[in-house]
Symmetry: C2
Subunit: 237 residues, 2 copies
DNA sequence: TAATGCCTCCCTATTTTGGGGGAGGGTGAA
DNA sequence: TTCACCCTCCCCCAAAATAGGGAGGCATTA
């Protein structure tokens, strides 16, 4: 790789603390001459972790207003696989426009490139680079660094997963094949009776699987069990 | 990028048919002097799609025996984020050993490197390179090409997503804020009564939201609605 | 061998959802 | 303004799911 990022990438494995992680985002920002570099994620139990160069005021404001729920970047990344150039998103709603204006007020650049990263167990992370630049300059930057940034995002995510593994090693519940089938059918919208028929067993038996799965998944009811099974990746719709 | 793969990567956007996709796997195999290059995936409705250089006999055998359910490579990739070097996997069970022997019988090389790729809506794909080689040679190969292969896998996946999008262009339903809240609470395991209390409205009203969301999502029941909301990304966690 | 986990079936009772109806007031866009 | 969509509330009743409790057979494995 010709890239300026080669040395940076090789240094990532040595990142061992959150402070160091934070420092890495700052280093990358300076190396690339950007305004912001941010990595953040949401894990399967809704905990959030982030490191990056946004001002703490903006982060606080963002969390306070629960912008996660309307941020077009989050929305775009959630629905796509490929990196998202902010300019390509739909900023037409009033709320989105106001959000963008406010973000820029808080020192966020007008151009951004966010890479969605998906891990096991429904893990979802975002790696963002941000700057104030013309459309043409930004295009050129993305052309030059887009692919490398994907690799950097992945390396960051690998690190973040290591941190989590150390913190909260949550054992993925292992459902039996029949339990998986039962939950899968419910996720597809079948009633218990239909699912039982589909599996060629009595509804009573099916119910036992659902209950077992519910307990293994730590779920409060069937809907919750299906939700957890989906978001932890034990079933695929 | 210094890599031999630069030209190859630039050609991927021109891939427009499944035959061409297949040809691309063969081209990559030849370019890198490998025995096999395989891309395959499972989408959100359980359809499978694959292209690669494994013999059709091995693919048939694999599907017939439903090896998907016990293949250690699949298992490893499901649980991890980072690429999997086959040698690092747990091949200790009898079934796994027999599986590996059989695979080699069918012309699969002893060394493999598989990259898990996760997309929106629960999409999960695997990109595998495979060869017969010594451990040291294989290590060297992965050192040299590992990162580029991640990019190649992503480009393949982008193409595969385009193919699917052409097939089944499903418009993402737009739920109202209250509908989203309602569905989110249910996904968290609350009953209608609890969710209503949480939202400060009567249970009757909440029910109206659930029903509206159900219809918008084309769901057969509440559980189905939550499942669809999660897997299409309209709600998080 | 004993233990564990899986698969299958059954009971009763209570609680929760689902599918139909309604009604009124608000906001935003064409 | 009219139209559409959102938010809020209410009725009834049938259907489905939930929470407990059982039981036996069949693998695998410690």
């Amino acid at each position: 790789m010709k890239s300026t990022l080669e040395n940076f990438l090789e240094a990532i494995p040595q990142v061992n603390t959150l402070e160091h992680f934070q420092a890495a985002t700052e280093e990358l920002r300076d190396k690339l001459g950007l305004e912001h570099v941010v990595y953040h994620w949401v894990n399967s139990v809704g905990e959030r972790f982030g490191a990056g160069t946004y001002s703490s005021e903006w982060v606080d404001r963002y969390l306070e207003k629960d912008y996660l729920r309307m941020d077009p970047v989050i929305f775009g990344c959630f629905q796509r696989f490929t990196p998202v150039n902010w300019k390509q998103l739909d900023w037409s709603t009033k709320a989105a426009k106001a959000f963008l204006v406010e973000a820029i007020d808080f020192g966020v650049g007008n151009q951004g490139y966010t890479i969605p990263i998906r891990g096991p167990h429904g893990q979802f992370a975002l790696f963002t680079v941000n700057n104030t630049a013309s459309d043409a300059d930004w295009e050129a930057f993305i052309d030059a660094y887009g692919r490398d940034l994907i690799i950097v995002g992945h390396e960051f995510n690998k690190k973040a997963l290591e941190f989590e593994a150390g913190d909260t090693a949550l054992p993925t519940p292992s459902l039996s094949p029949r339990e998986l089938m039962a939950i899968s059918y419910l996720a597809k919208g079948l009633s218990r009776a239909q699912a039982a028929q589909e599996m060629g067993i009595s509804e009573h038996t099916l119910r036992v699987y659902i209950e077992a799965a519910r307990h293994k998944l730590g779920a409060l009811n069937t809907t919750h069990a299906v939700a957890r099974a989906l978001s932890t990746g034990v079933i695929i719709v």
